[in-house]
Subunit: 145 residues, 2 copies
């Protein structure tokens, strides 16, 4: 059905235009916080209440574990995260946010959550409709609620 396909293409085209703005937002936010984009991704990933192993970070970032060493080295040098050995498996190192790291992560999430002017410019009813549609998008990590 070319009808639906062509509609999807046009929708996607418009979607990408909004994406282009976001693409320039992240580097800006990152540099304002003195972070690289990769460091932001690790910070986002780390839950303040739990610890994560280095290899799980690598899996989440979809990169080689050797990269995580360097990224975490720099985060640790800034006092944002801490490595500690896992008692159950001594090969594993667990990563945890420091107090400062938790604070910076909160600021980062706050900035990332700020809707850009493009979204804010929409009328309330458009925003509600957009929201409703996006909730019906079936994504890889869709959760209830």
């Amino acid at each position: 059905m070319p009808d639906r396909d062509s509609q999807a293409c046009e929708t996607w085209r418009l979607f990408i235009q909004v994406l282009a703005v976001e693409r320039s937002r992240l580097p800006t936010i990152a540099s304002e916080l003195g972070l690289s984009e990769a460091q932001c991704r690790v910070l986002e990933l780390l839950d303040p209440s739990t610890s994560v192993s280095m290899c799980n970070v690598a899996r989440a970032l979809d990169c080689d574990p050797s990269n995580v060493t360097g990224i975490v080295d720099r985060l640790e040098a800034r006092g944002l995260v801490e490595r500690s050995p896992d008692r159950a498996d001594r090969r594993v190192k667990k990563l945890m946010l420091t107090r400062v790291g938790k604070e910076l992560r909160a600021r980062l999430l706050e900035r990332l959550a700020e809707p850009p002017a493009q979204i804010r410019s929409l009328s309330l009813s458009d925003q509600r409709a957009l929201c409703a549609i996006l909730q019906r998008v079936s994504g890889p990590a869709r959760s209830s609620g």
Copy 2:
């Protein structure tokens, strides 16, 4: 009036979830074509029918002109683009796609235009509604400068 603001935040949150998928799509498409993401951006930027100066590429990429030298060096080494001096201003070098470059650019744009499963999964009426709303999004007044 947190009503509209909170609606915008929630809408943006959902928007970002779709964007997260795109973030992993671009590197995949790029590597399939044997390109880096920066090289893709330059290729996208170059209109097959006109030429662009190096400094305009730098402006469009929002990066230092010294970076463009390296990126274009590699594109040129692969025979995708050509530098030629501007007759009117001999400081300027104009960039143009080669025949091979035009072909690869077409393939790149084709891949980028493919709507991801998340968009295709929406019903036709949802896609139409989404499209209509996105058309009402006001861009950031093309602030290329």
